[in-house]
């Protein structure tokens, strides 16, 4: 699944956040369980460090001086398809979250995540899976909710399957992947597959509700 031999040795991670204090805090929390190979405080620095280090995972702050996390994603995803991005944010604003996920981030977690959960999320993203916080799952359910019972609407990019919807609901309720798997009597791997499918739909869907919904949230 991974293009680099990440199974050999700890995962190589780059931290991108404009707050030095937050970077050192995360570094301490990760506590040697991953190898932090670089840090950056703005978009230009981040793009340079990521191109130089080619890490497994970039922990990317949504709000950055010089264009935000989205600018870093736009500058890196085409050149470096093997580098995975995990968005970190204090913001609950829907358009921020949807923006970075649609820009190519493989997950979104809030900054109050515990160290263990963060390491877990980094591993998951490095393996090519998606990481959804409860809030992101809530956003997804909200965005894909209207017209859900419309029998004419064919299941596809613009529609969640009933199973995907169930998985999203459990994640929104605060369940871990393992708990979701047990609740739905599935394997963890299957849950991961469902979440990745939802991520792809979120990134590729042209569903107009998605845009309209984000715009409406922004205005409210």
């Amino acid at each position: 699944m991974t293009d680099q031999p990440s199974s050999v040795g700890p995962l190589r991670v780059v931290l991108v956040d404009d707050h030095q204090m937050f970077r050192s805090g995360v570094r301490a929390e990760l506590g040697g369980r991953v190898d932090v190979v670089g840090e950056a405080g703005d978009t230009d620095e981040a793009i340079a460090v990521i191109h130089r280090q080619r890490p497994d995972v970039v922990l990317l702050d949504v709000h950055l001086p010089g264009g935000g996390g989205r600018a870093v994603l736009d500058a890196c995803t085409a050149d470096l398809p093997a580098v995975r991005f995990l968005a970190l944010s204090v913001s609950d604003a829907a358009d921020d979250v949807i923006g970075v996920v649609r820009g190519g981030a493989r997950g979104y977690v809030t900054k109050n995540i515990s160290g263990d959960d963060l390491v877990d999320a980094i591993r998951r993203v490095a393996d090519g899976d998606a990481v959804f916080s409860p809030r992101l799952a809530g956003f997804v359910l909200d965005a894909f909710s209207s017209g859900a019972d419309d029998p004419l609407e064919v299941e596809g990019l613009d529609q969640l399957s009933p199973r995907e919807r169930e998985v999203m609901r459990l994640i929104a309720r605060g369940y871990t992947y393992r708990e979701v798997a047990r609740d739905l009597v599935l394997s963890v791997k299957t849950v991961e597959t469902h979440v990745s499918a939802v991520l792809r739909k979120l990134q590729l869907s042209n569903r107009h509700e998605l845009a309209r919904w984000a715009a409406a949230r922004h205005l409210v």
Binding site: S91, D92, A93, N112, P134, R135, A137, G138, L141, D142, S145, S146, D149, R169, A172, R173, G174, Y175, V220
Partner: protein, 417 residues
């Protein structure tokens, strides 16, 4: 009388309020000059007006005097109620007109040509000037208003837009009057030529002055923008000072008490988020806003963090209120027995509203709930049952607990998109 009376003792000349004659906006017929003078001198406004009309008929002296007063006296904007209404004003105008007509007829009968070659053009021009001056009064007033509150910027634009017909009428009257005056003294062609020359000269002057006027306009606009920015910064500074700085001080004082520090930080975070990202809605009107406010309260009382994830929203009614109360009890229960992070998920579906409250505490066996967990059984189960809903508890030792509240909604008609 409404005039300020000088204090009888001690007559300090510095303390006595200065009495300035002003023009009155309220109750004015034209420029407010007569009313202003009448109030200043404590005379009856009607007689002042008669005096001006009479003076106007004496070779136009009254008109010139009125114009001079109009130009020099400031317009007062105090909205003191005026005793006589518009009906009496109209009667006054009619009376004055009749008086003027009488005087004119009298003079005419004596062989004095009142409607001479120059009187009508002069009156036209005078009327035009009056319309323009009155317009400028109104525009200035709206500008003053818009400076008082920057949000009233629209007022100026609207006032200007409304002003255009009046400005056009005033200008036309002035031009017509000038043309009439010229035509009265010579042939029409010559006066047309003179008028054209005058207009050309005016256009030239306008062209010369245009850069200055535009520059002044831009400066004024830039100044206004700067002021708005300053106001915004002051608002942010006030917000930061009232909330973040205060809380940071409290946190430093409570540094020895981790629970208190967490509670303070969490409360502040919530308040700041609400300010930054705008509240979901009015807590008195929607389910999610009501839950947010309840959760903030519980977080303030117990050392816990509650993550609320809402999907959809519904308007509040008695049944929804019962759901909110039951959800609050469930959160309080989780905060008491589990602590840590509590997840609350609300989904407003087509035919029901579901609330999930999940904690990561030690968990328990729901079959063997001790009686001291009366809170959960009574407040949550009973509340939900009374409004036709259900409450179920799922837990096992070591796995935390989850309370599920389901409230069936009829047709989902109240769902808020």
């Amino acid at each position: 009388m409404s005039l300020p009376v000088p204090p009888p003792s001690p007559p300090s000349p510095f303390l006595r309020p200065e009495r300035r004659a002003v023009r009155r906006r309220r109750g004015r017929l034209l420029g407010g000059v007569c009313r202003g003078i009448a109030e200043h001198m404590a005379w009856d406004v009607g007689w002042v007006r008669v005096a001006f009309v009479v003076m106007a008929l004496l070779g136009g002296f009254g008109i010139a005097l009125y114009a001079a007063y109009w130009a020099w006296l400031p317009l007062s904007d105090d909205d003191r109620p005026v005793s006589d209404g518009s009906g009496r004003d109209l009667a006054g105008v009619l009376g004055l007109s009749a008086l003027a007509l009488g005087v004119v007829l009298l003079l005419s009968s004596r062989g004095i040509e009142v409607f001479g070659s120059w009187v009508v053009p002069l009156m036209l021009a005078g009327a035009g000037v009056a319309v323009l001056w009155r317009q400028s009064d109104d525009t200035r007033r709206s500008q003053i208003l818009s400076e008082v509150s920057s949000s009233a910027r629209l007022t100026t634009n609207t006032a200007l837009r409304n002003a255009f017909p009046r400005i056009a009428i005033g200008l036309s009257l002035v031009v017509l009057g000038a043309f009439g005056a010229l035509a009265a003294n010579g042939d029409v062609l010559a006066s047309l030529r003179g008028l054209a020359a005058a207009l050309l000269a005016l256009a030239g002057i306008a062209l010369v002055l245009l850069p200055f006027v535009l520059g002044w306009w831009r400066d004024a606009a830039a100044e206004r923008r700067a002021r708005i920015r300053t106001e915004e910064r002051a608002e942010v500074a006030a917000q930061v000072h009232d909330s973040v700085l205060q809380t940071l001080t409290l946190i430093q004082r409570a540094a020895h008490d981790p629970d208190e520090v967490t509670r303070l930080a969490r409360t502040e975070e919530r308040a700041l988020r609400r300010w930054l990202y705008a509240p979901t809605g009015d807590a008195s009107r929607t389910l999610v806003a009501a839950l947010e406010s309840e959760i903030a309260d519980v977080e303030g009382r117990f050392a816990c963090a509650v993550d609320l994830v809402p999907v959809g929203d519904v308007a509040r009614d008695d049944r929804v209120d019962a759901l909110v109360a039951a959800a609050r009890e469930a959160v309080v229960n989780a905060a008491k027995h589990a602590g840590g992070t509590i997840s609350v998920y609300v989904e407003c579906g087509r035919d029901s509203v579901e609330v999930f409250v999940r904690d990561r505490g030690p968990g328990f066996d729901p079959e063997a709930v001790p009686d001291d967990r009366l809170g959960l059984r009574e407040s949550v189960h009973a509340r939900m049952a009374r409004v036709g809903g259900t409450a179920t508890v799922r837990s096992a030792p070591g796995e935390g607990a989850e309370v599920t509240l389901v409230l069936p909604m009829s047709l989902g008609a109240r769902s808020i998109p």
